[in-house]
């Protein structure tokens, strides 16, 4: 099991088709604050991808904020992977 040990963020907030994700150590679980311009159409799929990426790295304890502006799945997952790796670094 891996741990998020520091706050980190990734993504460009001014860019369409991108999303901004911040991560920080959690309080004993996953806390997700999710907003998206396509929440109705893709919200469920995106949340699934977010949790999938967390479990890939064995993250069970983290606070996440995702502000999405229409990122497609590989972009969202890339942002998740980058922010998790940054948060796990010492």
């Amino acid at each position: 099991m891996s741990k998020i040990i520091r706050a980190a963020s990734v993504g460009n907030e001014k860019q369409n088709a991108d999303c901004v994700i911040t991560i920080e150590p959690g309080n004993g679980g996953i806390e997700l604050d999710f907003t998206s311009t396509v929440e109705i159409q893709y919200g469920d799929a995106m949340k699934e991808a977010i949790f999938d990426e967390l479990s890939k790295y064995g993250i069970t304890d983290a606070k996440l904020t995702v502000v999405d502006r229409g990122a497609i799945d590989p972009v969202l997952r890339a942002r998740m992977e980058a922010v998790i790796k940054r948060g796990m670094e010492g």
């Binding site: 088709a17 396509v38 109705i40 159409q41 893709y42 799929a45 502006r69 229409g70 497609i72 799945d73």
Partner: protein
């Protein structure tokens, strides 16, 4: 001697006899800088007038105060051709009992001229007017150019009020609307905000994807055999469609083609095409930017046309009758080529036909330019949420991944065998279902947003016929 000049809007409302239940009309050449509609409705509300029908050609963001007037019962019905998103979302949420009636830039004057819609009082914003109501949009500090959309109102309303911020002595020469139609003239400090009037829609996109689609559009025009002497052309003022002008000019000059006319909303780019010798004339129903408005005043080959001459079906003919090709946009298009320009993908109203449906139905080749998806939302669907323009009038869809040709177009004047012509010219023709699939492979299949069961608006077509209904967006 008649004295038409009235001191204030408050006074003119009384003199003109505005009463509960009447229909008042406005035109939208002041676009997002318009002060008129708010000034008149505020005054009507102050005087306790209720149950008005607002017959405006378009409603913009600056008309947000309208929402209060709806809630307070001052306005109980709206008719328009376009409605931007703030008022549009309020309508979609169901604040109004009677559905909004959406017409097109052609069917609005059409229905006024044939008596289907009666206007009690028309309010006309004029950047310059004389004391008898001879007025123009070509001069004055709030200059907006063509007055085309106001002409049917002026000719058919029971009472016509000109509101100006530049009152000049009689006679003002070169009027667009003349005194024989005008009852009252009111001078106010300002009829609009010049910045909002020329709302910055006419900058060419630098987005390389849009530019590539624009280049493809010119290839399609040429492949269809339309890039020839005498061609006529129309383009919108947004995104990729405007960029077509730039590439078209390049190609026309290279090939030495001299076209006949450009019609519609006229921009500086249309002016440039005309002045470079690519087209002989500009037929202007609405001048989109300062360059176009200035040119309208001085260029004898750039003339103002009424909304009725521009696009309506009630005259003996219209400019559309002779239009070869047009570049149009879409927020959604379906596999039958039906186009939605009224709502976004969640059902909120944020647009309208404008001239879209008139142009598509009448011109020889109607081209929709749209990317496969915008911020993850696919543009091509099985069914559009609202049909603004029926697929049977839409000839071509250009995307960044290929060009789809509609083989079920019913127009008699359509360019025949487009698909074969495009393929022969090396244009990447792709079935629209295939394009839809490409987008879904990248974006995933979107869940469709919930649709309410209450009609909040009705969409009418080029001849004023019923096309579709718009339903409310249920609030969660």
């Amino acid at each position: 001697m008649i004295d038409k000049v009235v001191g204030s809007i408050s006074e003119v409302i009384k003199k003109a006899g505005l009463k509960d239940g009447m229909t008042i009309s406005f035109h939208h050449h002041l676009r997002n800088g318009d002060y008129l509609l708010n000034m008149v409705l505020d005054e009507a509300a102050k005087q306790g007038i209720k149950d008005l029908t607002l017959h405006a050609s378009s409603i913009f963001e600056c008309h947000e105060p309208l929402i209060e007037h709806i809630k307070n019962g001052v306005v109980t019905q709206i008719m328009c051709n376009y409605m931007s998103k703030t008022v549009g979302s309020a309508i979609a949420s169901g604040i109004m009992e009677k559905p909004v009636i959406f017409r097109s830039h052609g069917s609005r004057p059409g229905d006024i001229c044939n008596g289907k819609t009666h206007i009690d009082i028309a309010f006309i914003g004029a950047p310059t007017s004389d004391v008898m109501g001879n007025c123009t949009g070509k001069r004055g500090k709030t200059r907006f150019g063509s007055m085309g959309y106001a002409m049917a109102d002026a000719e058919h309303a029971d009472t016509v009020v000109v509101i100006t911020d530049n009152l000049v002595e009689y006679p003002m020469l070169g009027a667009s609307i003349t005194e024989d139609f005008v009852d009252y003239v009111v001078e106010v400090e300002s009829i609009g905000d010049p910045e909002g009037i020329m709302s910055g829609t006419t900058a060419i996109t630098r987005d390389p994807v849009r530019l590539r689609m624009a280049q493809m559009a010119v290839k399609c025009i040429e492949a269809a055999g339309l890039l020839e002497d005498g061609m006529s052309f129309q383009t919108g003022a947004g995104g990729a469609t405007l960029a077509v002008s730039v590439y078209l000019k390049e190609r026309m000059l290279k090939k030495g083609v001299v076209g006949s006319f450009i019609v519609g909303g006229i921009t500086s780019y249309s002016v440039d095409l005309q002045q470079s010798g690519c087209f002989k004339a500009l037929l202007d129903v609405q001048s989109f930017d300062t360059g176009a408005a200035a040119d309208l005043e001085t260029n004898p080959n750039h003339i103002e046309v009424s909304g009725r001459q521009y696009a309506s079906a009630v005259g003996k003919s219209s400019c559309m009758t002779r239009l070869d090709c047009a570049m149009l946009g879409a927020t959604e298009i379906d596999v039958d080529f039906n186009v939605n320009v009224h709502t976004d993908s969640t059902g909120n109203i944020m647009g309208g036909s404008g001239g879209h449906t008139d142009i598509a139905e009448q011109c020889r080749m109607a081209v929709i330019i749209a990317p496969l998806f915008r911020n993850r939302l696919p543009i091509i669907l099985d069914h559009v949420r609202v049909i603004s323009t029926q697929g049977q009038y839409v000839d071509v869809l250009i995307t960044e991944k290929g060009v789809a040709v509609n083989e079920n177009v019913v127009k008699e004047n359509r360019v025949k065998d487009l698909k074969a012509k495009f393929i022969a010219a090396g244009i990447p023709v792709v079935d629209i279902h295939e394009l839809k699939k490409m987008a879904e492979e990248i974006c995933g299949i979107p869940k469709s947003a919930p649709k309410g069961d209450r009609v909040v608006a009705e969409v009418l077509g080029h001849r004023g016929e019923h096309v579709d209904y718009i339903y409310n967006v249920p609030r969660s």
